[in-house]
């Protein structure tokens, strides 16, 4: 069975200067916001709840339910914070969306803020992508000028300001409480919970934190209705999403499709594995999600399907690796990322990632000793589930799942350098420079 792409979020990406407000309005933009402002906030929240939209940032928590946790009797201001700190290795969906169609997100923010009685919303943009932040700021300025932001939006009596804030370049700030600390001007490190952000988040006020894609999906739900959204996807994973495919595929990129689409179907859309090669392993949702192998290509890529396979849907970042790839080298690269990005707050993550990298480097160089693979797993065991936040869990998942599927290759590291068993130039995509 081949899947039909369902371009909703990506529908306008191909248009010339698609990021300009004029273009967005011409394509029917802000009709959903207009409709929402004509309803009561509770009605808007009801529609999003009914749609079954679940968080697209990784955890998959129902978005409308999250909104309903905001205590409306709290006298403090309510805040909406959009998490645009997209840093998960392999994940590339929010940044292209913000570059191609920032107004999709901004319209979603207007609707979502209205639903939760928020009058100041923030977009926390990953520090490394200054060009994305600039585009977003340009779009926000356009909206103020057009009367879609500021006081009394379009005569509705609803006030909203949007503040675009750039991080300083830290993966941990994708963790929602670390994001809040960073947004408040502190070092980005996760906070103790409780209190949960819905009760005491940004500036100790009720705060909703949603992924870019989740909020950007809201306008289409308002425009087409909850039933339309529910008609796509699987039983518990409704709607469509953006899958990012990267690595050894013929046509890497973003593919928008209903939830529950299989990897095999996506691979077909992307033109298959690069010519002359075959799949070795892939990640379903970025490097933090346990890897899968060719045996898993027909599993539905939705929240339940992935949990059933012992992994997670995560950010739907499918990193694809063919048979030329050294799993040891790949795991080392991922581990180096986590070591670099560990915030240092808790012991298992800070010290554990430091140790894992050293062990993997030895195995990559063929200098491992008998028992090192068991030691690797034992260290993972001392980290897993014992850290302050979920970062370390991701750092461990890529190692343990890799050993589970490819243990002999790790044991080869007792004798043979990975670059001899899997000459690195064979797996390089851009050897000899970009063409």
């Amino acid at each position: 069975m081949s899947v039909v792409p369902t371009p909703v979020l990506t529908a306008n990406w191909g248009q010339e200067r698609s990021w300009k407000l004029k273009k967005y309005l011409a394509g029917g933009g802000f009709k959903a916001a207009k409709k929402a402002l004509g309803l009561s906030p509770e009605e808007v929240m009801g529609i999003v709840k009914d749609s079954g939209l679940r968080g697209r940032g990784g955890a998959g928590f129902p978005t409308g339910v999250k909104w309903s946790f905001v205590p409306q009797d709290n006298p403090n201001p309510k805040y909406l914070v959009v998490n645009a700190d997209e840093s998960e290795p392999g994940t590339c969906k929010d940044m292209p969306l913000l570059l191609a169609s920032p107004h999709t997100l901004l319209e979603g923010i207007v609707i979502s803020s209205y639903a939760i009685h928020c009058h100041t919303a923030f977009v926390y943009v990953r520090g490394e992508v200054a060009h994305v932040a600039r585009r977003l700021q340009g779009a926000v300025a356009e909206l103020y000028e057009a009367g879609w932001l500021g006081k009394d939006i379009q005569g509705s009596g609803f006030d909203l300001d949007i503040i675009v804030h750039s991080g300083a370049g830290a993966y941990i700030c994708g963790e929602e409480t670390a994001l809040l600390d960073s947004l408040e001007g502190r070092r980005g490190q996760p906070r103790l919970r409780p209190p949960f952000p819905a009760v005491a988040g940004l500036y100790a006020s009720p705060t909703v934190i949603n992924n870019v894609e989740s909020i950007a999906t809201v306008p289409s739900i308002l425009r087409n209705g909850a039933e339309w959204f529910q008609s796509m996807g699987t039983e518990k994973s409704k709607g469509f999403t953006i899958y990012s495919l990267s690595g050894h595929v013929a046509n890497p990129g973003q593919y928008e499709a209903p939830l529950g689409t299989t990897f095999a179907e996506l691979l077909e859309l992307a033109g298959g594995i690069r010519a002359g090669h075959e799949l070795k392993f892939f990640t379903p949702g970025g490097s933090s999600t346990p890897i899968l192998t060719p045996a898993d290509v027909d599993l539905p890529l939705d929240y339940e399907g992935m949990v059933g396979a012992g992994t997670m849907l995560g950010t739907k970042a499918l990193q694809v690796f063919d048979e030329t790839t050294s799993i040891v080298r790949t795991t080392l690269r991922w581990s180096e990322f986590y070591k670099h990005e560990s915030c240092g707050k808790c012991t298992p993550c800070r010290e554990g990632t430091w140790w894992l990298v050293q062990l993997l480097k030895k195995l990559e160089a063929g200098q491992g000793q008998e028992g090192d693979v068991d030691k690797l797993l034992a260290v993972c065991d001392d980290i897993n589930g014992l850290s302050f936040c979920a970062l370390a869990g991701g750092a461990v998942a890529c190692v343990t799942s890799a050993v589970k599927h490819f243990r002999p290759e790790f044991e080869l590291g007792y004798t043979t350098p990975a670059w001899e068993a899997y000459p690195y130039e064979r797996s390089a995509l851009f050897a000899g420079g970009a063409k």
Binding site: G344, C346, T347, W355, V379, D381
Partner: protein
């Protein structure tokens, strides 16, 4: 003290033992209450929970709702719940394994340089590595290395490679002292404690970070490599630096004081002290100061034996028409009582004054009437400050005059305390206390929910005004011996002269403090500092605060015991006064040998009190 409602109790089971603790208690504290010690680094009972070292992991098979946690949880952040079941390392192999794993991880980047580390021997990391760690590490890689040590201030050195990043020091600086000048910087394993260039860790409480550091990362520059903990003898004592009354632990080796730490006294200093109390070590027996009496002989001072010196003192006092006594404000309550008795019973003079200077004419009368003999129970106490609705500061700078009072006020801010200061201009201390500045006492609106803290600079007229207001109040003197001296009656009574008049009168004086200037007439000086003997006719060395036991009364009128560290070769002031009184009481007989019957104070060399 205000009555507090009994806290609601929560009953849970820890290692099979049922325990009831107040609602909101953390699991680690509940376990402590039944004698179960869960290892910890970042946890500190006086700091906000952080949950970052992960050492205190326990298994919770039932959170009180019938469901358990799949993985071990940090007991320092977990609040108790009714029906909760907790298994610590003592009963849960899973918790034990988790703690052993964390300990191994903590040590992979620690240098294990215990043999050359100040903390070795009293180190929570060392101790808990033995009690909660595996015997051998599986780590054979490369450790993090740093240039060492970093000089954080003149007094504090930081060896970053030893740090386990528990953030106790930075949290102390921010939460307790209100001086957030050290902070964690960088990330991952390279996270480290640092301070901004140009913004030094300028805090009068900085030394506490050495004490709460659970490893040897922070060390005190003047104690570094100075002693090994297991060679030291610890003595509980009370600080002599101000009237706050902090409990201290003084560590000495063979009678020589090596360092002082904050003692644990929940009612006074909790577990903190200030840098004055920690780093200004009082002189002791082995320090270089004259230990022989001196006599004025033809305009110059010469050494004399104790019998000769005491006889000369007695002779001079006997000859004098008028006499006065100036004990000084640093005496123990016992010495102050001896000075008072000496003035009253031996010399028969009403002229006694512990003060060094006189604030105003009516101060003595006010102190005798309103401060003397106050009981602790009727006095304002530290605990009251913490729980007060409003505290008004009058001529009192808490951070400079009695730093531990500042810590209580700062703590009170979190509980809703409002500080008002009658002050002409703002200061850093007042800013930290978020104090409202008012010009006059009337502006401060004293009511029954107010506590007034008046400093030594406060005029008697203002003190009277405060004392007649509905507010509760306390007078906080600058010096450690002031309250004890007032209680002993070391203030001029009916017909007595005050310190300034005595110094300007032609009268014989017995002076107990080196800070008191020389008088006009015959002067017997009892000196514990070894200061310049000029101006004295008879100069008698007496025991320092470390060479005697005794009592200090702090501003609350709370008694704090002074611990004897090592008996020196000179007697305490009270002992000298007793002998002098004996001489003066004896009938003067021309034929008797001067100073007959007076011992020559010479305790055996190196005599000390064992632990």
């Amino acid at each position: 003290m205000s009555e507090t409602a009994p806290a609601e109790l929560v009953t849970l089971t820890i290692d099979g033992i049922e325990v009831s603790v107040p609602k909101g208690t953390t699991v680690i504290r509940a376990a402590e209450s039944i004698g179960i010690a869960i290892p910890r680094f970042c946890d500190h009972p006086l700091l906000a929970p952080r949950g970052s070292c992960r050492m205190c992991l326990v298994e919770i098979p039932d959170a009180g709702n019938g469901r358990g946690f799949p993985a071990p949880q940090t007991s320092c952040t977990m609040a108790v719940a009714p029906g909760m079941v907790v298994q610590t390392q003592l009963t849960s192999p899973k918790a034990k394994a988790a703690q052993e794993g964390i300990m191994e991880l903590l040590l992979i980047n620690h240098p294990l340089d215990c043999p050359i580390c100040d903390k070795g021997g009293e180190c929570p990391l060392q101790n808990q590595a033995m009690s909660a760690g595996r015997a051998e590490s599986r780590f054979d890689g490369v450790k993090r290395r740093y240039e060492k040590p970093v000089k954080i201030t003149d007094r504090l050195l930081l060896d970053r490679e030893r740090c386990v990043l528990c953030a106790r020091c930075t949290r102390f600086a921010e939460e307790i002292a209100g001086d957030p000048f050290i902070s964690l910087a960088e990330r991952g394993a390279y996270q480290q404690v640092g301070s901004y260039p140009g913004e030094p860790f300028d805090s009068v409480f900085s030394g506490n970070v050495v004490q709460i550091c659970p490893v040897g990362a922070f060390t005190a520059a003047d104690y570094r490599f100075n002693a090994r903990p297991f060679d030291l003898v610890s003595v509980d004592t009370t600080c002599e630096q101000c009237a706050a009354g902090c409990s201290l632990r003084a560590d000495h080796r063979h009678g020589s004081l090596r360092r002082r730490l904050a003692g644990v006294n929940p009612e006074v200093n909790e577990e903190w002290n200030c840098d004055r109390g920690r780093f200004h070590l009082p002189l002791g027996a082995t320090d270089d100061r004259p230990l022989t009496p001196l006599l004025k002989d033809g305009g110059a001072m010469r050494e004399a034996s104790w019998p000769e010196a005491l006889a000369a003192a007695a002779a001079g006092l006997r000859k004098a028409l008028k006499t006065g006594v100036l004990p000084g404000p640093r005496q123990t309550a016992e010495n102050a009582a001896a000075f008072a008795a000496f003035a009253r019973d031996t010399l028969g003079t009403p002229s006694i004054d512990y003060r060094v200077r006189v604030k105003d004419e009516n101060q003595a009368a006010f102190l005798l009437e309103q401060v003397k003999g106050k009981a602790l129970a009727e006095s304002v106490q530290y605990r009251d400050l913490e729980n007060a609705a409003k505290v008004v500061l009058v001529d009192f700078d808490p951070e400079a005059d009695a730093p531990i009072v500042f810590l209580r006020l700062f703590k009170g801010l979190r509980k809703g305390l409002k500080v008002v200061a009658v002050a002409a201009e703002p200061s850093r201390t007042l800013a930290k206390l978020k104090a409202e500045l008012v010009e006059t006492l009337e502006d401060a609106a004293l009511d029954e929910n107010t506590i007034v803290l008046a400093g030594e600079r406060c005029a008697s007229e203002t003190l009277r005004q405060i004392a007649t207001s509905p507010a509760r109040w306390a007078w906080i003197p600058n010096d450690v011996g002031a309250i004890g001296a007032i209680d002993a009656g070391c203030l001029p009574g009916e017909g007595g002269l005050d310190v300034e008049r005595m110094l300007n009168a032609s009268m014989a004086l017995v002076v107990g403090d080196d800070a008191v200037e020389a008088g006009m007439g015959f002067t017997v000086r009892l000196s514990d500092l070894g200061d310049d003997a000029a101006g004295a006719d008879v100069w008698l060395p007496v025991a320092t605060v470390t060479e005697q036991s005794g009592t200090f009364l702090n501003w609350e009128h709370r008694r704090g015991s002074v611990g004897l560290i090592a008996k020196g070769r000179v007697p305490a002031a009270a002992e000298v006064l007793a002998h002098l009184a004996g001489l003066l009481a004896a009938p003067e007989t021309a034929g008797s040998e001067a100073g007959e019957g007076i011992p020559d104070f010479e305790p055996a060399e190196g005599e000390e009190v064992s632990a």
